[in-house]
Symmetry: none
Amino acid sequence: MARRPLTKVRKIASQQRSRATVDALVEATARILVKDGFDKASTNRIADVAGVSVGSLYQYFPGKEALVAAVIERHQHEIMQTVRGELAGVLDQPVEKAVRKLVAAAVKAHRVDPKLHRVLAEQIPRVGKLEKLERFNGENFTLFRTYLESRRDELLVDDLELASFVCVTSIEALTHNAVLHHSRMLSDAAMEALTDEVARLVIRYLKG
Amino acid sequence: MARRPLTKVRKIASQQRSRATVDALVEATARILVKDGFDKASTNRIADVAGVSVGSLYQYFPGKEALVAAVIERHQHEIMQTVRGELAGVLDQPVEKAVRKLVAAAVKAHRVDPKLHRVLAEQIPRVGKLEKLERFNGENFTLFRTYLESRRDELLVDDLELASFVCVTSIEALTHNAVLHHSRMLSDAAMEALTDEVARLVIRYLKG
Amino acid sequence: MARRPLTKVRKIASQQRSRATVDALVEATARILVKDGFDKASTNRIADVAGVSVGSLYQYFPGKEALVAAVIERHQHEIMQTVRGELAGVLDQPVEKAVRKLVAAAVKAHRVDPKLHRVLAEQIPRVGKLEKLERFNGENFTLFRTYLESRRDELLVDDLELASFVCVTSIEALTHNAVLHHSRMLSDAAMEALTDEVARLVIRYLKG
Amino acid sequence: MARRPLTKVRKIASQQRSRATVDALVEATARILVKDGFDKASTNRIADVAGVSVGSLYQYFPGKEALVAAVIERHQHEIMQTVRGELAGVLDQPVEKAVRKLVAAAVKAHRVDPKLHRVLAEQIPRVGKLEKLERFNGENFTLFRTYLESRRDELLVDDLELASFVCVTSIEALTHNAVLHHSRMLSDAAMEALTDEVARLVIRYLKG
DNA sequence: GATGAATGAGCGTTCATTCAT
DNA sequence: GATGAATGAACGCTCATTCAT
């Protein structure tokens, strides 16, 4: 009986140690990406910034790509955390409200960690296999498409596939550009105005 | 007196040679960017593909960045060449027609060299301060803004700055995504449909 | 008094455990050497295959070299086990018989674990001072030398040192090459033929 | 007319520079192999010892293997240089003379650069595809086989394939061992004695 | 004793850039 | 001007070894 807890504690201790190392590495990667960009994020530097040896880095990640992937995953997780509630009842709501909520959610998503979001969006495509961000947009697309389907009678548009593409792409681009490139707009009032305007764009398009 | 013309001829000859070398280098850079991406575009390889020595490359360009910048410039020049006429009378035309023309021009612009455009858009931000592409959009923005100003009475929107941002960003994003990511849409009929739809989005937004 | 036997049992138990660990490590080393070669035999991998932690590996062996040395020792032990009887009465027998027996023993020795033998012979010299294999040949040399001494009158050769070198080296090289490189010869009949031929080589050399 | 020689000189100059670099690298590789063995022959170290940058190493050799291959080639070239004449008339000569010449040639071959030969023989097999050394032995085998064929009537052996294997393997092993492991034998007189003894071994085997 | 996370020197290799020719 | 051999810092990654738990 004496050894059980001991064993358990050891295991937890090492798990904590591992976890801390992994977290430090992902955090360091994110920081370097934001501060210096993808090309400066060398494995040695990441390890260095994480206060860990390169060896440890490779104990937990098969390579640089995996670290970036982890950063992306973490970022998306955080976005989800923030946005989830926002999108809950959306499917049951009238177009005006639903669209406004979607736009507001998009804005919120882009404000989670704007600098990181920008780097991920701009510099990561080259990694090739890392289509996590696109998959994310794919989800948005599907959600929106489903919603339009359910309201088809109220809508002015007839090709719902095309309409979804138009709306999702516009919302994404507008929030992305506003938040990431024109950060002077970042005042809450300005954000409100933007949200209104984007919602207006989409609603007029859908309902005339 | 005997040497002047000779010199001149030589000079011209050498100027032509220089020009040819520069062109070959820019062309080689573009080709490699399209075929293999930014990371594989090493200076040695560019010189090789251009049929020129690395030394010569550095005679004409201070570094890799400058070559990419030249490619961007050339690409924009080609786009301008293609689009210029399209936008000529636009300022004098009614909203419906003007917007349609602008959208059509945007589509045309993205069809000039889509693969190159994609690479430039996705992989180049890393080069740091190369905001040539943004400057390009800036011009579009200004043009559009000016147009809205001239038609302000007909419009439903009141913040023209904001409205310009909304319209230009949407048009750019939609054509970019359609042409570069969903190339299955590339049939002329589909392109027509897209143009119509984007124009509809903008016009409804502007005029209700 | 109550604890003595207990302690003893524990000690034995742990000795057994130690023995098992050591064996597992040596076995794992041998397996990896055979399957993947010296370069792939990293200490971490050996420990892994042995189902033991790296830490434990270093508890029992001062380093990688020591493990390989242990494998060599074990291999030689197994060869001895197999060959010992073969060489028992050899000293009392006439040249023809004795030589034939020696050659047969050499063949047998090389057939104990040919793949391991080959790896040890080819890849181990790099380890530096591991002359265990040579020491092994040294024993053969001494044995053979002693035998020739006892038969000196019957022999055609006069420098027995030289003759021993010639015979032992030839026997070793021929059996080694035959077994390890030309494994198509491995049929029992072929092996018999080889043994005959090598014996003939040596006997003619010694007795004309 | 003025530029031709200039051009030529330039080209020669650069060819000489290249040649010198390549030679320095091969030489450095050989030296390190001899002094410290295969494992210590890292590309950086080779370049260092050659007085050349790593970059230059990779300009001329695709990797470490290629350097070792070049060393092997050079070594074999030197052996050929030394041995060629020795084997010229051999096919037309009587067994005694021919065998003696072959053995003498083998000894000579092993004395070209014994330490290097040893390293190449012992540490290189792991590279896998580098069967240059074996191919070399293959040539010896073929030559010997052909010779035996032409003298078949005089010989006591009937399986010429097997006999060739026995002879070539023995000669190679004996000269190799004598020269590389027992270098105390290296006096010319001792070498003479060894040559005689090995020739005797082979001749008695072939002719009784 | 046993564990396995952590270490870091060192590996093979690339590539933007320079400079003697 | 043109050449291309040469450079070397920096990269991604491995692995024998140590040591806190």
